[in-house]
Symmetry: C2
Subunit: 506 residues, 2 copies
């Protein structure tokens, strides 16, 4: 038996190795950020091997047997305090999960991911699924193998879901998306029977630099710390973090769509506020990491939708926008832009979808992934399945594969199980927002005045500070009093869109 | 004895480890670049540990005993081809040199470097050498210890010089700087008796963005490949490289000095052309590395001075500059700007010095370093020694330490032995340029027309392609027919400045 001093020394050793691994991962994240934001077009070859070397070594540090032994000894000890124990148990869980995949399997997966990605790029460009499909088929075979290696209780897909949101299962998702199908379809149907709102004024020409500086102003006001973060342009907006002290977001330059840059910026800003709010003293350790991808997405969706697309926010924001775009918005009132940015309309592309139809895009992917992993549908049939589902759930015709089954990058990377977190995050977002409102009945009024301090502090105290200590549903239960509850989202949606479209929603 | 197949397998293993170490160093270089160019002000803490982790692991890979054994076995084998042998012998040399310093010594040095640097920043800001001196004294003691660990034949300082320019010695430098002292002093004296050239028009207000875009134009024309490189702003201009496919330079924004941005840009561009010209198939290996810091500096000085400050170049360049700055340069002729940017004037600050007085700044540092390392002068006397030498060699009064002994960062980092490479590089530059002119008598005419292809190709073929295969003097002998020859520089200086100042120089 080891005594207390031995255990503390061992814990120190665990922290040192884990944080060192984080150094390499975070340096790798900077290489990736640079690749999207700054890297010259002809620099990819050597960059790829540098990224691979960093990732490989980070992985090596936290998967070797001596690290595992340290973790096991710590887990068996009674001398750790609560947060030390939480770190150790989560790291041990990660270790055991990693060990289920052999190094050769990981290499095969990494290589296939790169080959599939290249094939996807070409296929999408040429609008030809057949150029992607042989590589996608190989990827799916590997992911099915991964499910077996991980192990699962009821459905193989559960094994993959767990990577993105620990504890979530197909049984739980079937329940949730069952509600989406019934309740949200019903609401959507009612909306689509009403006259459409006007949004043509969002599609004038808006100077990019002015949009960007407006987005910076908004980011500052919601609490993004520019002394420990920055915003740049990239083709696809994303958030990355090299430590809670260096969190970076990107946004995309779109001149002819006022909805593009600003709300993308608020969305990524929400992700960034979460990363900036993680406890720095747990750098690289589980308690310094985000709880799950669903909770991460809840933070971006909360700021983008619950805040950014609310009437209260527009009351604060639109006068600022009008200062920059006085000609463009000369005849536009706040109530008009509120309706316009909340326009509901079934469409082809997930990333451009509104707050409601969005979940049908996710639902379609969820059902397809589940069936692919179970071997119930064949890869070659995907374009047909895709068209049928878009016709069934969204009543839209898919004219080609580029805007259909090839639109998302995820499958090429092997990220099966990722999509559901987008919907779960949106549902959690509303639960968190409602809980914050209950804690401060004056919140809407504060938002009207551009004061977001209470909201951010509430999130810091009820979500950010815990790191990975709790999984999504436990965290939600702790901070809102309830596990995931779709009815909260539905109620929010009924009220908001009922008012916008003049529905009788009771 | 190992057979040929074994040896080739061993060589492959050597290449793999060496290139992996390069991956980590190059990733570290990106972290450093980002720190100067992009990093938010409040992100330094975690960045520092990430940089340290990368550097430590890169160092570990190429200093562990099994790597040394591989190298020794390869060095003893007869089955390597010429370039394989060159790589192995140079790597073995590096290995043996690294091994002379213990890990604990390297850690002490690294920590002292960071402490001294912080002290230097504060001392320079407060114009108080006494705030720097206790830390500098410790650094000097460590560097003297390093000389003993490395070993040396005649002068301890030789051991340090070798890190920056292999094979150079104090005996050789005494010869060279002896010539500087006599011959260059004489030329300088003649110049200073003549009426000064006019350069007031260089100090108007020049729009930064226009200067930057002009510098990009020039960089493109001299052959900088922007598909494998980029230029940004930073406080102090520098060049860095993450592979020959990703070479980045920075320049500084200076509105009131037309000499600042453009020629700094050409200088760094010269460094960058060298890095872009290194053989990519020797990535991370000695034959893919620059020959020495002196040769590196020769490339920047050649483009900055021999090209950039020549009458031929201005014939091409100045019309382009006039397009951007038609008002500012309305009454300025090419001959006027040629004289202005070549104005010779003793001054306090090395980095702002002209092509001739520059070498007295270096000479002063060389003499001080040599004496410090030999223990012939004391650290506390540095401000006095500095003032005496500036008065003696440059006839300028040093009003305070900030613009005197505290002006350069080098000593705080422990970079003793670095300064001489600045002068050596300038002298080699002229030798290379004259050799290229001999190979193509039409070169000046080509430069007048903005055609730099021949010159770049000559450098690619006679300097860049060799990597570290030869040390500076051997490389110079191969490509110009002569080892370092100060008389070539002196002849160039006499002709150029003789014409500008109307001297009788024969």
């Amino acid at each position: 038996m080891k005594n207390k001093t031995d255990i503390q020394a061992l814990y120190f050793q665990y922290v040192e190795t884990t944080q060192k691994a984080a150094d390499f991962s975070n340096a790798g994240a900077l290489l990736d950020w640079d690749q999207e934001v700054n890297m010259p077009s002809g620099s990819a070859t050597f960059r790829a091997r540098q990224s691979a070397s960093l990732a490989e070594y980070a992985h090596l540090l936290i998967t070797n047997d001596s690290y595992g032994k340290v973790l096991q000894q710590l887990a068996d000890s009674a001398f750790l305090n609560e947060s030390q124990r939480a770190n150790v148990m989560l790291s041990l869980e990660d270790f055991q999960k990693h060990k289920r995949l052999s190094t050769s399997f990981i290499n095969t997966l990494t290589n296939q991911s790169s080959v599939s990605f290249q094939a996807w790029v070409v296929a999408k460009k040429n609008n030809q699924f057949s150029l992607f499909y042989p590589q996608l088929e190989k990827m799916i075979a590997l992911k099915r193998q991964q499910c077996d290696l991980y192990g699962f209780q009821t459905h193989p897909y559960d094994a993959l879901l767990d990577d993105y949101d620990k504890g979530i299962t197909t049984i739980r998702l079937d329940e949730i998306f069952g509600e989406v199908k019934i309740q949200l379809s019903e609401l959507l149907e009612k909306i689509l029977q009403k006259p459409q709102v006007e949004d043509v004024f969002l599609h004038q020409t808006f100077d990019i630099t002015s949009q960007f500086s407006l987005s910076i102003e908004i980011l500052k006001s919601i609490g993004f710390n520019f002394e420990q973060g920055r915003q740049d342009y990239s083709e696809h907006p994303f958030t990355t973090s090299f430590s809670p002290q260096d969190v970076r977001i990107t946004t995309r330059a779109e001149q002819a769509n006022f909805k593009g840059l600003i709300w993308s910026s608020i969305h990524e800003g929400g992700h960034a506020l979460y990363e900036q709010g993680l406890p720095p003293d747990a750098y690289g350790l589980p308690l310094g990491m985000p709880a799950s991808l669903s909770i991460h997405e809840s933070q971006s969706r909360l700021w983008e939708n619950c805040v950014g697309r609310s009437a209260a926010f527009l009351h604060y924001f639109f006068p600022l926008a009008k200062q920059k775009f006085s000609t463009e918005f000369e005849h536009v009132e706040t109530s008009m832009i509120y309706k316009a940015i909340n326009k509901v309309q079934p469409s082809l592309i997930r990333t451009e979808a509104d707050e409601l139809t969005y979940h049908f895009h996710v639902l379609i992917r969820y059902e397809i992934e589940k069936a692919l992993i179970a071997g119930e549908i064949q890869c070659k049939d995907l374009p047909t399945v895709w068209k049928e589902m878009y016709s069934k759930y969204l009543k839209v015709d898919v004219p080609n594969d580029t805007v259909g089954v090839l639109q998302d990058v995820h499958w090429s990377h092997g990220s099966f199980g990722y999509f559901p977190t987008y919907s779960l995050g949106s549902f959690y977002a509303v639960q968190f927002f409602e809980a914050a409102k209950s804690a401060n009945p004056n919140l809407e009024h504060e938002i009207q005045n551009g004061n977001f301090q209470f909201l951010l502090q509430w999130l810091r105290q009820h979500v950010h500070c815990y790191g990975r200590q709790y999984n999504s549903e436990v965290l939600s239960k702790l901070s809102t009093g309830s596990v995931l509850d779709f009815s909260v989202f539905l109620q929010y949606a009924r009220e908001k869109y009922g008012a916008i479209y003049g529905l009788d929603v009771n």
